[in-house]
């Protein structure tokens, strides 16, 4: 194949031909398509990684949950059931056999949608988990809507006032706020706004069928607590990103060529400041969606986090395994989503270097 033939008219072997084509590197759109190729490689690698990581997480979770003490079959049937009856119950619920065979049985069930039934709630775990997940997602979305504008505002104010008193005061306040436990912030807000001012209900058990306005009102305090716990770290990222963009040469160029300030902020500062912020949000999004066990328990909110706590407390192994798997899937999907957003937002990304 490498021998030059008169038919195709090549004066030298094809490898050399392609090598010289590589030397006269494609410019403009050609470079762009190469970058897209790289991005697709990254996405492809992620799509292979994610199932493997999920498999490892599921095996670890399944093994850990098997160590939970207690005898679900005995608990379900009561103390008068015979050993044979308990064994039959175990077999029908996929609890008999070795850990490996039970794991495979469970794994097959999880991916085909047959998730087993909760021992405690005595209902199939799938609708139970998905219902609580929807509640957690509502709370997370609300917290997110509160969180993003406030942290972008605080972070950019700090960056524009870097090193001055405003910057220091905001830094110290946010640092203190971030180290106060979530449930303490929650208790203080409850005492002030629910018990003292009676502005919000003490229990925010969300009723999905209820009026949306009422639901938002009831979810306000938990959403504020959830947002407060992520505020400091997010504002910090915005501050770093914005400060970097303000001191960059392209910012000076934009100012010197007389662009209006709103255009500079929108097109040059914000875009650059939001890239690291977005990366961080992706890491937290999975946790946010999976529900905050603390906030949900404190406000008696029926979310996935609180459901996991109940499952752990009552030794509901089926519910616990399925719920933790859902949390793991969500966290990985959130990371994938972040990768996609980063590619769309930042064409410079060199993924080969970012992977360390």
């Amino acid at each position: 194949m490498t021998i030059a033939s008169p038919e195709n008219g090549l004066p030298y072997p094809p490898e050399l031909a392609s090598a010289s084509a590589g030397l006269t590197a494609p410019r403009g759109l050609g470079v762009l398509s190469e970058r897209h190729g790289r991005a697709l490689t990254l996405l492809g690698r992620r799509l292979i990684q994610i199932p493997l990581v999920l498999l490892a997480v599921s095996a670890l979770t399944f093994w850990l949950v098997q160590l939970v003490p207690g005898d679900p079959g005995r608990n379900a049937l009561g103390q008068y059931a015979t050993a044979a009856q308990v064994h039959a119950w175990d077999v029908s619920n996929g609890l008999a056999g070795s850990v490996a065979s039970r794991y495979l049985h469970w794994l097959g069930g999880f991916f085909s949608g047959a998730w087993g039934a909760s021992f405690v709630y005595l209902v199939p775990s799938r609708p139970l988990i998905l219902g609580h997940l929807a509640n957690s997602a509502f709370l997370a979305l609300y917290a997110f809507i509160l969180l993003v504008p406030v942290s972008v505002l605080l972070g950019s104010v700090q960056a524009y006032r870097e090193g001055r008193r405003t910057d220091r005061v905001i830094t110290i306040s946010l640092m203190t706020l971030s180290s106060v436990p979530e449930f303490v912030i929650g208790v203080l807000l409850l005492v002030a706004f629910a018990v003292g001012l009676k502005a919000f209900p003490v229990q925010s058990a969300a009723d999905a069928t209820g009026d949306l306005g009422q639901r938002i009102h009831a979810t306000t305090l938990p959403a504020v607590v959830l947002a407060a716990s992520y505020l400091a770290v997010l504002a910090r990222m915005v501050r770093t990103g914005t400060a970097g963009a303000i001191t960059a040469p392209f910012h000076r160029t934009a100012v010197l060529k007389g662009l209006p300030r709103s255009v500079i902020v929108r097109r040059h500062v914000m875009r650059n400041a939001l890239i690291p912020t977005l990366q961080l949000l992706g890491i937290y999004l999975g946790g946010l969606l999976g529900g905050s066990a603390v906030v949900e328990t404190l406000f008696n909110y029926p979310g996935l986090g609180a459901l996991m706590v109940t499952a752990a407390e009552r030794k509901d192994t089926v519910l616990l395994t399925d719920g933790v798997m859902v949390t793991g899937v969500l966290a990985l999907l959130a990371l994938l989503l972040t990768d996609v957003c980063m590619i769309l937002l930042d064409p410079r990304i060199r993924f080969g270097n970012a992977e360390g």
Binding site: L64, M175, M308, A311
Partner: protein, 281 residues
């Protein structure tokens, strides 16, 4: 060959203590921690009884009961002071364990590289997928929540994060000449790691230890609050909030004082860590 200038990390330690003592937040935080430690050691000498019913249920703060009484008629003041015991036992022990495991794994991983490094890092990647609290909930369900079990759990769960940071720091040190000279002198791997590398990353280890201490105190309080940590009748702060949150509308004092106690301890330890970090960098 003069190796002293390369040990830049150790020069940062000279003059650190006076610099720290000039920082008001550091001094205040250390005082708070000393007060709580003092309370943990001495509360039972003052005739306080955190377990007995005083006969008054959910009574408001008064002279005889400065913080009021809880749903079982127990003095909240006595229970808040007695709660220092569990707060200052499990968390700090877990943090020490996490620092030891994390430092050892981090140094080994960076020193030997190759498959040891790859295997450890991939394992940590898998462990990092689940949100930390969910991971803790599963582990606590599996292994129970007795104080020794909790200490080991916190040690194991917090170790990967520390290991990663120590690994990164040791990787930087590995490129310096003193490591090469030590190797040429024929020092054993164990000696290079323990006598050469660890002293040079010691400031980073101390900072990670303080940071994980604050996180560990927070985690134990959070687990107790969720009902998965200390069990009744322990006077633990997190547990006290869990037990009394239903009475918040009529008896706010049953939850506010334990909540403020947790917050003061966690914030104080966090501020100590932040101050050390700033003083050293």
């Amino acid at each position: 060959m003069d190796l002293v200038p390369e040990r830049s990390a150790s020069t940062g330690r000279i003059g650190t203590v006076p610099a720290l003592l000039r920082r008001p937040t550091f001094v205040l935080s250390v005082l708070v921690v000393i007060c709580w430690s003092g309370a943990a050691l001495t509360w039972h000498r003052f005739g306080l009884n955190p377990y007995d019913n005083t006969g008054q249920v959910l009574s408001a703060p008064s002279w005889s009961h400065p913080f009021g009484t809880d749903n079982l008629g127990r003095s909240v003041f006595a229970r808040t002071l007695a709660g220092t015991g569990s707060a200052l036992a499990v968390g700090p022990a877990g943090a020490v364990l996490a620092t030891v495991i994390g430092s050892v794994l981090g140094v080994i991983s960076a020193y030997f590289r190759s498959w040891v490094d790859t295997a450890l890092m991939r394992l940590f990647d898998v462990l990092a997928v689940l949100p930390p609290l969910i991971f803790l909930i599963v582990i606590v369900a599996a292994f129970g929540a007795s104080s020794p079990a909790l200490t080991v759990i916190i040690g194991v769960v917090f170790a990967p994060g520390i290991a990663r940071i120590i690994r990164a720091a040791v990787l930087v040190e590995m490129g310096k000449k003193y490591v090469t000279s030590a190797r040429l002198q024929g020092e054993s791997a164990l000696r290079i790691m323990a006598a050469e590398l660890v002293p040079n990353v010691a400031p980073i280890i101390v900072i990670q230890a303080t940071l994980s201490l604050s996180a560990a105190v927070l985690m134990t309080a959070t687990l107790s609050f969720l009902g998965l940590g200390q069990q009744p009748p322990s006077p633990d702060w997190g547990l006290a909030i869990n037990q009394n949150i239903d009475y918040i509308e009529t008896a706010w004092w049953t939850v506010i004082f334990p909540a403020l106690a947790v917050a003061s301890l966690v914030v104080a330890v966090q501020l100590i860590a932040d101050n050390i970090k700033e003083a050293w960098s």
